[in-house]
């Protein structure tokens, strides 16, 4: 296994108390595999990724438990400089907002080339040639002429391509993409997603795709982990989860999306609001919003039940959820 997150706990110390952002998350990614982590804002999907990447703000954040095994080494036990060597070379991250993630006063060529100067000790000239090569690879037209341009001179889709190029530069074995296409228009979204999937295949990388968009995931992911209130509530290969969700939250999410191919009457809506991380409901965190909740849900935290060989669901009533369709 390339990456294995085991029982990860992350909390944030705020003035109002301790916000439990991640409460025992387990997931794994193999080489060449795409794992989609799905969740709404505050579900802990990005915080988990930041902990893996080692870019969590500490304080106020604190990893209060768990292991992150990357190529069989626990990242949480490494020294800062060892981690820095892994970051960028062996794992890289693509962020949502390319404009604020790129340095506005350096040309994209300099920013891309810097990777090679710092990690590979190349000369400026060689690094520049490498930068042009990378821009070609992510299909930025006229790379040679544009290598000296600044981020603001590129469109949103092109900037996201530059982010991808930067992440791919040192051919890492794991890429974490946090909402990589959320800020883009639909027609550009498709281009960027296709590019990402293609490069991943080519380099046989592991890819963690963090998103709130069930649509984007359907096209590229191999397996999906759905998060709610800092826990994984369901994991499944991609096909099954859309056909037969085994957790009421996943089911509610799928039903609440308006569909392109029909004019519905009233949309199904999950009642209530996502929980406040300072006061996560006892028992199953989803129970106040769940149409299937029973007394046991208010007291017992559901473990990840085995639905079948590849599927898990953290619902006491996963069987009923499956049958109830």
């Amino acid at each position: 296994m390339l990456l294995e997150v085991r029982d990860l706990h992350v909390e944030f110390h705020t003035r109002d108390g301790v916000a439990k952002a991640v409460n025992g998350v387990n997931y794994s990614v193999a080489e060449g595999e795409t794992l989609a982590v799905l969740g709404e804002s505050g579900s802990g999907k990005s915080v988990t990724a930041q902990a893996v990447m080692g870019i969590l703000d500490m304080p106020p954040g604190r990893i209060s438990g768990g292991e992150i095994l990357f190529k069989d080494r626990d990242l949480l036990k490494l020294k800062a400089d060892e981690r820095r060597r892994i970051r960028g070379q062996e794992m890289a991250m693509i962020f949502q907002d390319a404009l604020s993630s790129l340095n506005p006063v350096l040309s994209v060529g300099q920013q891309l080339g810097e990777m090679f100067v710092v990690h590979r000790g190349m000369s400026r000239g060689d690094a520049r040639a490498k930068a042009i090569e990378l821009m070609d690879r992510v299909r930025i037209p006229a790379a040679r002429e544009r290598v000296g341009d600044f981020p603001h001179q590129f469109s949103g889709g092109m900037r996201q391509r530059i982010m991808i190029a930067m992440a791919m530069a040192l051919e890492p074995s794991l890429i974490i993409a946090d909402e990589p296409t959320t800020a883009l228009d639909v027609t550009v979204q498709a281009q960027v997603m296709d590019l990402l999937a293609e490069l991943q295949r080519e380099l046989n990388m592991g890819l963690i795709l963090i998103t709130h968009d069930l649509g984007v995931v359907a096209d590229v992911a191999d397996k999906i982990a759905v998060m709610y209130a800092g826990r994984i509530v369901e994991t499944s290969p991609v096909h099954e989860i859309y056909q037969a969700p085994a957790h009421p939250y996943t089911k509610g999410l799928l039903r609440s999306i308006p569909r392109l191919d029909q004019k519905g009457q009233e949309l199904y809506a999950i009642k209530g609001l996502p929980p406040n991380l300072l006061h996560i409901p006892p028992g199953c965190a989803f129970h106040p919003r769940c149409p299937m909740a029973q007394a046991v849900c208010r007291t017992d935290v559901p473990p990840l039940y085995t639905v079948d060989e590849e599927r898990r669901s953290a619902c006491h009533f996963w069987k009923e959820t499956l049958d109830a369709r």
Partner: protein, 408 residues
């Protein structure tokens, strides 16, 4: 919430939106059944200047470049397009936040762009806006009561001083918030609740038209559905007309009676939701529809995807002829020379199919990109799902009553 199509068509002689004969209507008084809002040739250009002391105009950003549409009373018109297509600028001009460079906006037959003073104030009362971002469109230092009640300061005739608090509480109740929250501040609410506050503010003056600019795009999926349902309900309850602007095609289909697709400052195709989604004839609409990710992996096999190349050109430098031609796979020499008009394409003029609707393309051709069979697949297929009012869910019963037709 269905369009008063008969009235609209009767007025324009059964023809389309863009007829010269329409100009004659200008002098006619507003009659029952006429469109409540008529937009003709709406233009907004932002000048590009050079020099500091002696500013010289060197060009213009043509954000909106000739937009025409009608809005019938009680109808929802959806406007979709990518960022930079001018859809938000249209919204701002409709509520008079931006003065148009040219064109007319007729509210009940009266050209709003020429009004000022008291007459303008009266019209603005009737056209209200709901903004996209519930985090920045509410003043953090004002209580919810002050935010929702602020419109009454400008239009005191709507609610006499003594009755305002009660009115605000009624509004909170209408949008599904606890009326006791009247003294709370925006930061004490979640995104979805804040958007409800924004909607309550939009309703405060009992407007006839609400212009909603991306009202749900900042919200989480589970909350988005609640707000969409609320808008739907309010429209029926207060017989509102909606202009609903969004980039999300699925939501627009859900809420709209008619849909206009915008590209680079113009509407390129307009029609009923069925005409646009099931029988699109403009290549841009087809590409847009095919690019929407569908939450169903089995749909991907029997679904053709049109991937457009390149980016939207800059509105400061719009291509000649058809503005979509630089990204269009059908583009020919004619597209470079001749601007296609928004009208029923000649090929469909005599056909009785839903393909007969306005489309600004020289080579319009029907192409179904959303396969109809998706209707009956997956748990997301709300077609058979009973609508679930959120509060009526009882333990054990919700989510269990979906019909068959879903293969496992």
């Amino acid at each position: 919430m269905h369009a008063d199509d008969a009235g609209r068509e009767g007025l324009s002689g059964g023809s389309t939106l863009l007829t010269g004969a329409r100009e004659a209507d200008r002098t006619r008084p507003y009659a029952e059944g006429d469109p409540i809002l008529e937009v003709r040739g709406l233009v907004k250009h932002y000048p590009l200047t050079r020099g500091i002391l002696f500013k010289k105009q060197i060009g213009a950003v043509r954000a909106v470049d000739g937009v025409d549409f009608d809005l019938a009373a009680g109808e929802t018109l959806g406007i979709v397009g990518e960022s930079g297509c001018g859809k938000s600028t249209v919204a701002k001009m409709l509520v008079h936040l931006e003065p148009p460079t040219g064109g007319v906006i007729r509210y009940k037959g009266e050209d709003v762009t020429k009004l000022s003073g008291r007459a303008l104030k009266a019209v603005r009362r009737n056209i209200q806006m709901v903004f996209q971002d519930p985090y920045t469109s509410l003043n953090p230092r004002m209580t919810v009561g002050d935010i929702i009640g602020e419109p009454y300061e400008i239009h005191p005739e709507v609610a006499p001083k003594g009755s305002r608090r009660q009115k605000v509480q009624d509004l909170l109740d209408v949008v599904g918030l606890n009326p006791e929250y009247i003294n709370r501040y925006p930061h004490q609410f979640s995104g979805g609740q804040r958007q409800r506050i924004g909607i309550a503010r939009g309703l405060a003056l009992n407007p006839e038209i609400i212009v909603a600019d991306e009202p749900v795009s900042a919200l989480d999926v589970s909350v988005q559905a609640q707000v969409v349902n609320l808008l739907d309900r309010l429209q029926a309850e207060f017989s509102l007309s909606f202009v609903f602007i969004a980039h999300d095609l699925s939501i627009v289909r859900h809420i709209s009676d008619r849909v206009g697709v915008m590209y680079l400052g113009r509407i390129v195709e307009v029609g009923t939701d069925e005409e646009i989604y099931d029988h699109p004839t403009h290549p841009y609409t087809q590409a847009l529809l095919s690019a929407v990710p569908v939450p169903d992996p089995s749909a991907r096999e029997h679904r053709e995807r049109i991937i457009l190349h390149g980016d939207v050109p800059s509105p400061a430098n719009i291509p000649s002829g058809c503005r979509f031609r630089t990204r269009c796979w059908k583009a020919q020499e004619r597209c470079e020379r001749e601007v296609p008009l928004l009208a029923v394409p000649a090929v469909f003029r005599d056909s009785g199919t839903p393909a007969r609707h306005d489309s600004a393309c020289h080579f319009a051709e029907e192409k179904r990109v959303v396969p109809p069979e998706e209707r009956r697949e997956g748990p997301g297929a709300a077609g058979e799902a009973q609508p679930h009012p959120p509060d009526e869910d009882t333990p054990g019963s919700g989510g269990t009553d979906e019909g068959g037709g879903e293969g496992r």
